[in-house]
Each structure stands twice: as structure tokens, then as C-alpha cells.
Symmetry: C2
């Protein structure tokens, strides 16, 4: 079946581009001896996680315990939950998963460590721990080398926890490469302090987990990095193009939509809005628009209702007709896939495979 | 079970407030002889749709054919699909539903009418049609009384279609009541032209479907209105409070979240972000923030990642501790419920009922 026969809106992935994207980063990681642990919150699809492992990933990253369960149930046995687990019933579920899976969790508080330790001891399992440090995003993570060492010391004496190392997320570095290099200097200075403090304290660090899709090909320039957790790199999106991370030709994912109204002059209405694309904004330049129309770069995806996409075609030279299909590259691929129950893999225009988004709606 | 024992993030609905909201609008509609046809895209939950009908609604509205199927399968037999159905396979599905359900569709093009007519004729069913007119939002809808009459004439001669009347959506009127009254004048002038043109053409209009939650209690002042399609009125949200539609005490729905990190000074991190709340913006005043913290109006919900909510607590007098629960009233209730597989009904703090969001992910 050609993808234009799918009922719309439908998310399609160009398999040739996706496989190239996966291979390219896997090759970079091999070359630079950095482990690749993809963040599967981007797609929440076990089949794609397994493909990433097949291409050389050492395991996966997830954001939530419920996502970890979906991936574990599909047979993936090395999972980092890059999220502070504070509530006791999440810790119990975590310990349950750790019975037959290598589970590692990042955290920035003693309370989280104690909660996990308690549940792990109850079930007689071990859980790996990374101490999260804040390298500039100011979201989670302890803010100094001393605090990181102090927390690691406390983790070392908690029952059933294995302190494995350090985690950070350089989420403030989404920018063109030249600007990334400027932002990297203080990150490296901070991490050097962390390494020195751990060395002084005599606490060995096995893992330094960092990285993200925008900074993935800069990984070799991060001091001491042993693994990265990029999510978006199989697909990329309009934000990654806007930040000059990749050219538009690297975007593997688009949303197929149908023109459902042309009644209002200068506008074309599509059958996908915020419930199809998410409302995530364009993070680069002028900040406008909710996606890029593959067939007409002059069209501006200027507004959305829940189920309507509003194209301004005032500047377009193209004629639009009711019922025709368009492809839109979304601003943010992670939140777009998350809106869908199923996505489709396409090669040469033909639908080759469809994957349920098994982790769709898994929020706990 | 108390709602604070639910795993978080969890959407809870205060049943007392919700029932009061439902009753209040139903009473207004009875008093003013306007039919109430709630838009169930807000919750996508058949049990709540049936409760709305029990309180006096004449039937329901949905946005997509797939939502109509969910509601029809749950036994609801009078459904308006307030969305232009253009693709032939959606028209076939529609005709299938019309075999044992009263189905009405709004549209603004002959192409949509022809597509539905063809499928309806194939299955020997009848589908009701409303012509959508544009009263100011400039999204869908024909722009003049003459165009509306011309389209109605063409619908009247299409096999298996029943022209029932006119639909409009006053989505540009979300504002405090005084401003709504100013915006209403041109809407009424336009609709008077429409009514006059249909009268001159000798085409009877049975249904004039308008309304929305922000304008619901102004319905009696819309000329010629026979039914309204409000969605959010059982719950309301921060945007409805911001537009002075209701006081915050009328908000029935909140998201229970857990504090998962306090490591960064001046910030508190919650276990819900854009995948829990959606990224929908605050549409009133300063436009900032992603929700209102029930326990601390001085906290600003200033940013979100996919799974992290970022509270700025710089102006707060409250101490926050790891693991504690907070309730957040979201900006937009429709897109928030849509992120969840299940929501919970609470009375006096106790969870009384839980509903699967049966239409969750239904986008086609």
C-alpha cells in the first residue's frame, strides 16, 4: 500500500533515512568509544529500540517506570531510567523490574536513593544509581562537585544500591555547533571539578552519561563522557533543522494530512492540529509555525486548533485542492509520536511495516 | 482510596463541582429553549457523555469519525460530527455508523457533500448535513449568506443527504462577557443575513448549531440559535478562568503531581510536563505559565520538558518537600485529558470512579 492510502492524519517514517540516521550515529559512537544508550521516550516503540540495539546501542534510556516496563516486557534487558524516582510505589515497581533486568536510575536526592534502596532490599535485587549533576539547564541535578560527592557517599552505604557514576543532561546546548562549543567550555570545567572531587574522595566512576541529539556529534569533546542518551536522532525534526543540527534531508518522519477546507481565502485547513502534532513551539529564529510543509515551503503552518491545522498560503504559488494529501515535518518529533497509537514505516513510498506506539499514554 | 494514593501524574475530577457545572448549563438551556449538544472531544469518555445526556443533552458532538465510533459503540445514538469529512474512506465509515445512529455532519464544500452522499447511497442510509458558515474565526465555513444558500441548494439535490441547517463556531469570542457582547453584534448581523437569504430561497432551516463554553451563557442573545456545542463546561480550566468565564471555584479538574526534585535553588520539579498537560499556552493576559498550582498561587508553572514541570517558587512563601503531592489546574482541559489513558472521579477526596479515556488517540 502507498502511504497516501493511509487514513489521515498518519505518522510515517522513511525507513531508508531512519536507518541511515541510526547507522551514522552508531558509527560515530564506535569510532569515539562512547556507548550509545538511546532515549526511547522519543518513539516508545520496542521494535525500534531493538533496532537501535542491533545497530550497536548498549541498552536504552526511558523517562518513566511505566515506559521501562513496556520495554522490559518486549525483552530489553539493560534500561536506564533517567528520571528521579521518589514515590514508594514507583520504587516498588522498579525493584520488580530489576529482578530480571539491569536497571539503573539517575537521581539528585538522598530521599530518592533511600526509597529505591528500601524496595530493592525488600525484593533482594540491586539497582544501579547515577548521581545527576546540573551542567546548565537548571532542571534537575546537584549544583556542585562537593554536593555530588556527598550524595554519592550516602548512596554507597545504602543497601542494595550500586553507585555507577554521574549523569547530566546538556539541554541548554541546543544551538548551532559553533555556539555549542562556546557552551561546552563551562560544562567541561564543571565536569573536571566533579572528576577531581570524586578522585580525591577515592570513589570510582564507571559511567558518565550525558549527551542528547543536538550535541551527539560533539560527544568526543565532552570531557570524560562514557555514554550518550540521544532520543531524536533516528528521525530529527523541524527544531533540529532550525538549530542547524541536520539538514532537512535528514528528517525521516512526517505527518500525512488531508486538506479538509479551503473555504476561507488565503487559508488551507488540514485534518491535524494540536492533538496530532502537539502544541510544541518552534525553538529557533522567529519561533513561528508548527511544522514544515514538505510540498510547499512557502506555506506557513501558522496556527492550530485541536483537530485543525491552519496553513497560511498567502505567499504560496501553489494551488490547493480539497482532499489532497500533504506531509508535514513536525516541530518536535517526541511529542508528535506520543499523540499516536501507531506509526508507519515507509520505503520508496510503500508502507513496509506498522508499529504500535506501545508506550503511548504511559505517564507514571 | 484517597486521591493522594494514586500513582502520579493522575487527572482527577471533583464530581460535586462537575455535576454542578453540568446541571447549571443544562438548566440555562432548558430555560432558554436551546438544545444542548456537548462536544465530547473534551473528555472522549462515553460514561461522561451519557451523564451529560442524562442531565438533558439532546445528543453529542464529536470532532472525528473515530470518536463517533467510540461513542456509538457505547450506545449513543444522536451524533453530530462537527468536522468536514472529505476523504472517501471516512465517508464510508460514516455511512456505516449512520445505519443505526442519527448522524449529522457539518461541511463547507460540495466535495465533502458529494463524498458523503456517495457512501450514504451505497449503504442506503441518510446523513444529516449542516452548512458551516464563518462568523469570525476564519477557520472553516463559507463566508457569505449567498455562498451558504448556494451550497445548501446543491446539498438538497444530493442523494441520501438531509439538509438540516447551519453551523458556526464562534471561537474568536473567548473573552470576558462585556467584550463578548461587542463581538456578538457582527455575528448576529451576519446570521440575520443568512436567515433572510434562506427565507428568500425558500429553504427551511431546522437547526442552527453554534455556541462554545466561553459563550454558553450568552446563547439566548445569539439570533436564531437552536443548539449549542460547548465542550469544556463540565470541568473548565485556567484559560476559562483567565477569560473571566468562571471563577476558579468552578474548575472541577486538576492534575495530581509529585515533587521529584528540589536540587536547583528557586525551582521545584514536578513529575508532569508536556506529555501530561500538553503544551497549550495560557491565552489570557500575560500569557505565561502552564497551569495554576492549587496549593500555592504564588508558584509559577514557568516551563515544561516532556516529563518535567518546572515551578518557579522564588516568590513563594511555602516550603516544598520531595515526594509531596500538588494539584495543578491545567491551561486547557481538552488537550490535557487527551494525554491520559484514564482519569479519576473524586468526591470528598475519595476516588469514587475511574473512567478509561476511550477516545484517547482516536485521530482519524
Amino acid at each position: 500500500m502507498h502511504f497516501n492510502e493511509l487514513d489521515t492524519p498518519a505518522v510515517i517514517v522513511d525507513l531508508d533515512i531512519m536507518e541511515r540516521n541510526m547507522q551514522r550515529l552508531a558509527a560515530y559512537c564506535r569510532e569515539h568509544s562512547v556507548a550509545l544508550r538511546p532515549h526511547t521516550k522519543t518513539h516508545k516503540i520496542p521494535e525500534l529500540a531493538k533496532l537501535q540495539i542491533q545497530y550497536g546501542a548498549c541498552g536504552i534510556t526511558v523517562a518513566k517506570v511505566s515506559e521501562a516496563r513496556v520495554m522490559r516486557d518486549a525483552g530489553i534487558d539493560d534500561i536506564l531510567i533517567a528520571y528521579p524516582i521518589v514515590a514508594q510505589h514507583k520504587a516498588r515497581e522498579l525493584a520488580h523490574l530489576a529482578a530480571n533486568t539491569k536497571i539503573t536510575v539517575s537521581l539528585d536526592s538522598l530521599e530518592a536513593a533511600q526509597s529505591i534502596s528500601l524496595s530493592a532490599a525488600e525484593r533482594a535485587v540491586r539497582v544501579g544509581i547515577l548521581v545527576e549533576v546540573d551542567v546548565g539547564l537548571h532542571r534537575c541535578g546537584v549544583g556542585s562537585a562537593e554536593d555530588a560527592v556527598a550524595l554519592a557517599r550516602k548512596i554507597l552505604i545504602q543497601p542494595n544500591l550500586d553507585f555507577r557514576g554521574i549523569m547530566f543532561y546538556p539541554g541548554h546546548m541546543m544551538a548551532p555547533v559553533a555556539r555549542q562549543r562556546e557552551l561546552l567550555t563551562p560544562v567541561n570545567q564543571f565536569m573536571d571539578e566533579v572528576y577531581a572531587a570524586f578522585a580525591r574522595a577515592g570513589i570510582p566512576i564507571q559511567v558518565v552519561s550525558g549527551g542528547s541529539t543536538p550535541t551527539a556529534f560533539l560527544s568526543a569533546e565532552f570531557h570524560g563522557l562514557t555514554e550518550i542518551r540521544p532520543g531524536m536522532y533516528p528521525f530529527y525534526d523541524r527544531n533540529m533543522v532550525g538549530a542547524e543540527v541536520v539538514p532537512v534531508e535528514s528528517c525521516a518522519l512526517s505527518v500525512v494530512v488531508t486538506v479538509v477546507s479551503t473555504a476561507v481565502s488565503g487559508r488551507v485547513i488540514l485534518d491535524g492540529g494540536s492533538k496530532t502534532f502537539s502544541s510544541d513551539r518552534f525553538l529557533a529564529g522567529h519561533g513561528r509555525g508548527f511544522g514544515m510543509v514538505v510540498q510547499d515551503p512557502a506555506a506557513e503552518f501558522e496556527a492550530m486548533s485541536e483537530e485543525h491545522g491552519h496553513l497560511s498560503v498567502a505567499a504560496s504559488k501553489r494551488a490547493y485542492r480539497l482532499g489532497e494529501r500533504l506531509q508535514i515535518i513536525p516541530n518536535h518529533v517526541c511529542t508528535t509520536i506520543n499523540m499516536h497509537e501507531r506509526i508507519y514505516g515507509v520505503r520508496g513510498g510503500q508502507v513496509e511495516v506498522s508499529w504500535p506506539v506501545a508506550g503511548h499514554g504511559k505517564l507514571q
